[in-house]
């Protein structure tokens, strides 16, 4: 037993060693119980069979005798028929007893609940006895004796006498209805089915607390209900049961909304959720969770509302996981977003990802007051921060955004340039920006840049451009070069831009392209012309 117990304590239940030890224990029980029963007396540090110690240990920490002894068990009797499963349950119960340290639970209750059919135990626990029992029984005996005397003289009055079986709607009512035939099995099954959802005792408990909170007539009762809700919510958070927790908080918020002057009392339930370590644990578990887990956590955090913002920003700063970051950013940017004063202090954080996340938040808040704080970040040493800053500046979309973005067209990082040019395309900046764009496209190295960057620049040029851009685009699609032919994608993007510009000179250039010997060029030219015609028709 001791060996199996140790194996279960140190290895998972399905580990081969744990299984082997349980097999050995089951075999040992088989042999020992072949002739009947085995009774072991329990002392602090030993198990005794017929007054002979059969197991002794001085190490009490993981000792079976001590575990049994300290919860009041003074003997174990094993009966023939105790199989491997039952032996495993016993060992598991002993392990559970080590973990249980609550006021109302001990090994005796664990064994009682498990109800092992071939194990009996004697408990030295005088909880049922005492002076009051003796007094009570004396009084009970005396009163009942008195009743027995009285019954001889009692006045007996006839009362209504009914055949109660008539109402049962049975096939054969009356005297012949037998015990065992009253409730058809299907009715029991039906009841069981109907009540299946009630297994959710935590949800039922939550509803009871909300009923009390909603209907309480005193603040004392409201406070107790709120404390109950706090406990329940806190436990659900600890267990990671976010779906139930979110539902509970939604219902709590609904009750709170109807509480009028007492509504503030309920804030404690939500405040209690702002437990950094537990929230961190929920976030950390996201990587192992599926998309459902991410949705549940997002829904839960959203319910906490503004009160959670400061804490969530702290978690965002400390969080390393991609999933956590996404969830936190989703929550922090929902609704009206986060107040500037919570974000700005972290903009200068030396960690690039912290600065990047803060810049992201500022962009999503679309608050023009953030512009002066974003401008310095555009010179951040890390291109990932600059890129996010360009996106955020574009998202804020102020007049002051344009020169800032235009300056980024010559950023050393292609990624930053791409974002900047895309944002400019979106903002429809004034004409002077076009010349800076053309300057970039004319640059000697432009054709050697990545396809993505060329795409972004020429797409933006197509959106913002006019006749002044046509000669350059005409030159680009022709692909002539002193050094090497221009890449095909550049030529095609240039044709697309001409189609977007759609002026007469642009269409002329496209018409010339229809005569190209290159199939791809001719195809793109046709598309360009189609686009130009569509735009013209739309404008008319």
């Amino acid at each position: 037993m001791q060996k199996a117990y140790r194996a279960i304590r140190f290895y998972p239940p399905d580990h081969p060693l744990a299984n082997h030890c349980l097999d050995e224990l089951a075999g040992a029980f088989d042999r020992a119980l072949a002739d009947g029963t085995l009774r072991l007396a329990v002392s602090e540090n030993s198990l005794t069979y017929e007054e002979e110690p059969v197991f002794t240990t001085d190490d009490l920490r993981e000792s079976i005798p001590f575990i049994l002894f300290r919860d009041g068990i003074r003997s174990l009797t094993f009966r023939n028929g105790l199989g491997r499963d039952e032996a495993a349950e016993l060992i598991e119960a002993l392990g559970q007893a080590q973990e249980v340290d609550k006021a109302d639970h001990d090994l005796v209750t664990i064994l009682w609940e498990r109800n092992l059919p071939h194990l009996e135990y004697q408990v030295a626990d005088p909880l049922l006895e005492g002076e009051s029992s003796a007094d009570g029984l004396r009084q009970l005996a005396s009163q009942l004796q008195g009743k027995l005397e009285e019954e001889k003289r009692a006045r007996l009055v006839r009362t209504p006498h009914a055949d109660l079986t008539e109402s049962l709607e049975l096939d054969a009512p009356g005297d012949e209805v037998l015990v065992g035939n009253v409730v058809p099995e299907e009715e029991l099954i039906q009841l069981e089915r109907e009540l299946e959802p009630e297994q959710d005792i935590l949800a039922e408990f939550g509803i009871v607390l909300l009923e009390i909170l909603a209907n309480a007539t005193s603040d004392e009762d409201r406070i107790v209900a709120v404390r109950g809700l706090e406990d329940l919510a806190s436990s659900l958070l600890e267990w990671g049961d976010l779906a139930r927790l979110t539902h509970l908080l939604q219902e709590t918020a609904a009750v709170q909304a109807d509480l009028g002057e007492h509504a503030d009392l309920v804030d404690d339930v939500f405040e209690g959720m702002l437990d950094k370590e537990r929230l961190r644990a929920s976030l950390d578990s996201l990587d192992a969770a599926g998309p459902g887990g991410r949705q549940e956590l997002t829904a839960f955090l959203l319910i906490l509302g503004e009160r959670a913002h400061r804490l969530l920003i702290e978690l965002l700063i400390e969080s390393g996981g991609k999933q956590s970051r996404h969830v936190l950013l989703d929550v922090l940017t929902a609704g009206a977003g986060v107040p500037l004063e919570l974000v700005l202090p972290h903009l200068g954080d030396p960690r690039w990802y912290v600065a990047r996340n803060m810049v992201y938040l500022l962009g999503r808040m679309k608050d023009p007051r953030a512009m002066p704080h974003l401008e310095p970040v555009l010179a951040h040493s890390d291109e990932r921060v600059r890129k996010e800053a360009a996106r955020s500046v574009g998202a804020i979309g102020e007049r002051s955004s344009v020169p800032v973005l235009a300056a980024l067209l010559s950023d050393p990082s292609p990624a930053v340039r791409v974002v900047a040019v895309r944002q400019l395309g979106r903002l429809r900046p004034p004409a002077e920006v076009l010349s800076r764009l053309l300057l970039q496209v004319r640059a000697r190295d432009f054709s050697t840049r990545s396809e993505g960057e060329i795409d972004a620049f020429l797409d933006t040029l197509g959106q913002l451009g006019d006749d002044s851009a046509v000669p350059l685009l005409d030159e680009l699609w022709r692909g002539r070069s002193f050094f090497r032919p221009k890449p095909l994608h550049l030529r095609l993007f240039a044709l697309r831009a001409l189609g977007q510009i759609g002026t007469a000179s642009a269409r002329q250039s496209l018409s010339r392209a229809l005569r190209s010997s290159d199939n791809a060029v001719r195809r793109q030219a046709r598309r360009g012309l189609w686009e130009a015609n569509r735009q013209e028709a739309a404008s008319q």
Partner: protein, 495 residues
């Protein structure tokens, strides 16, 4: 309904248990240190000071008893769960108590350093004549705040195996719970669990014996017998629904505690002999909410207590959601709530109350349940209840076709007709005789049948116990009394 793991909520009574553990640990350390050093030694002084600090912090205004029974250490009747690290010191304490045949020591508020030093010093002396000698020395020392108690003797027979003792333990525990809750102390849930386990074990072993106990009414406080009866009836119903032991234990606990909220309703209202005014009725209707509030204040939340809280709230809500408290969100009643509702209503209407002139007979009680089946009560449970107690439930006084009058002692056995219970003859024929109305004569006919239901003195029923069972109470009481002997006159004893 079963199978959910026990899920503790964070706030529990761990702090109280830790105080008790610390108290025993420090007492044991002080005792051991005194055994190795002179009383004036600084180590002894330090150990005693630590112990007294614990007493004064936690038990400044109340006495605390530390005792040993059958090698278990108790603090104020709460058994201590000792850890391996405490064990060496605690064993020293247990050995010392054993050597002196000492049951325990009570420390009164105001216990002084000198008293502690004296008693610990004496405990470490050689024992020649056991407790008598130790008590004599204690008296000579004039100890005022330290009292010695005798050991309790163990019972030869496990109490839980006797229905009457189980019933009596139930009444005890009900009384204790009410006192505890009234004084804003924590319920000794481990004791409560032992009692609920005993009820379940007893019902599984011999259901009819314990069911017949539910005819014990008006003994002591109404709430004690009512809570006990509802617990027994509920568990018997749960058993028919196929609940496992653990669920039956939870159901028993919930039923025990269902009316806890009534202790916050003024007794004058609960026992008012005339009709209640609307304000008084509203106060009574608060008791399911009070039950929840009181249980929440217990701060020992786990699956069992959660079920008890929910059922306590629900037990006056009918199947059709009428009743009280008023509901705004709940749209169904749990199975525990439905079961306790049936058992509660049956026991309430068959028990004499000050505001009723006539109490319903148990037969009328079952008829009431049937009449309101499907509206107030779950129909399947009502049918099971009828099957469990029969057409004439225990306690019903019946007139027989033979001209005899009897009281139903046990419900009909499985396979017997619902209308053929076991009877104890009260009048006519041979009073005291036990008859089974399911018996047949040589011709295969039932010689006796119920022809009338009688109400004795408007009380509704008579106790179903027979004379022999009641007579057995005396010896059982005496046996328990013997286990807890009266203290010798001159020995300072506290319990």
């Amino acid at each position: 309904m079963s199978g959910q793991p026990i899920t503790p909520l964070p706030r529990c009574d761990a702090a109280a248990r830790e105080d008790e553990r610390r108290l025993v640990h420090r007492l044991a350390v002080a005792l051991r240190t005194t055994g190795f050093h002179d009383p004036g030694n600084t180590a002894v002084q330090g150990a005693i000071a630590e112990f007294l600090r614990t007493v004064r912090t936690r038990w400044a205004h109340e006495q605390v008893w530390v005792g040993v029974r059958n090698r278990c250490v108790f603090v104020n009747d709460e058994r201590l769960r000792i850890g391996p690290s405490d064990y060496l010191n605690v064993r020293y304490l247990m050995d010392t108590f054993d050597r002196w045949n000492l049951g325990g020591i009570t420390f009164q508020p105001g216990v002084r350093d000198a008293e502690m030093r004296s008693v610990l010093y004496e405990l470490n002396q050689k024992s020649e004549r056991g407790l008598e000698e130790l008590a004599a020395r204690a008296r000579a020392l004039g100890l005022k705040h330290v009292e010695l108690t005798e050991p309790e003797r163990e019972s030869e027979e496990p109490a839980a195996h006797l229905p009457l003792r189980t019933y009596s333990a139930c009444l005890d525990v009900c009384r204790e719970i009410q006192e505890t809750v009234r004084e804003h102390r924590h319920i000794r849930t481990r004791r409560l669990r032992r009692v609920t386990q005993a009820v379940v074990d007893q019902l599984l072993e011999d259901e009819s014996a314990l069911l017949s106990m539910t005819t014990i009414k008006e003994f002591d406080d109404y709430l004690f017998t009512h809570s006990t009866n509802v617990a027994i009836l509920s568990v018997a119903l749960g058993q028919r629904l196929g609940f496992d032991k653990r669920t039956l234990g939870d159901l028993c606990l919930a039923a025990f505690l269902h009316d806890l909220g009534k202790i916050l309703v003024p007794k004058g209202i609960l026992e008012k002999p005339t009709q209640l005014d609307p304000g008084e009725r509203a106060q009574i209707q608060q008791h399911p909410i009070h039950a929840v509030i009181l249980l929440l204040e217990q701060e020992q939340l786990n699956q069992s207590t959660l079920r008890a809280i929910v059922a306590g709230f629900e037990h006056h809500i009918n199947l059709d959601l009428s009743g009280y408290p008023r509901l705004t969100r709940k749209n169904s009643v749990t199975l525990f709530g439905r079961i306790i509702c049936v058992a509660d209503r049956y026991d309430a209407i068959t028990t004499r109350r000050s505001y009723r002139k006539t109490t319903s007979t148990p037969h009328e009680g079952v008829r009431f349940l049937l009449e309101h089946s499907g509206t107030q009560f779950e129909p399947v449970l009502v049918k099971l209840f009828l099957e469990m107690l029969g057409v004439y439930p225990p306690g019903t006084v019946v007139g027989l076709s033979s001209g005899e009058v009897g009281v139903v002692r046990r419900p009909p056995l499985p396979g017997s007709a619902l209308s053929r219970p076991q009877i104890r003859v009260v009048r006519g024929g041979d009073p005291g005789t036990i008859l089974d109305l399911a018996d047949r004569d040589a011709a295969g006919k039932h010689p006796r049948s119920v022809v009338a239901v009688l109400n004795p003195d408007d009380d509704g029923q008579l106790p179903a116990l027979c004379g022999a069972e009641i007579e057995a109470l005396g010896p059982i009481g005496a046996m328990i009394a013997e286990e807890v002997p009266d203290p010798p006159a001159r020995l300072p004893v506290a319990r």
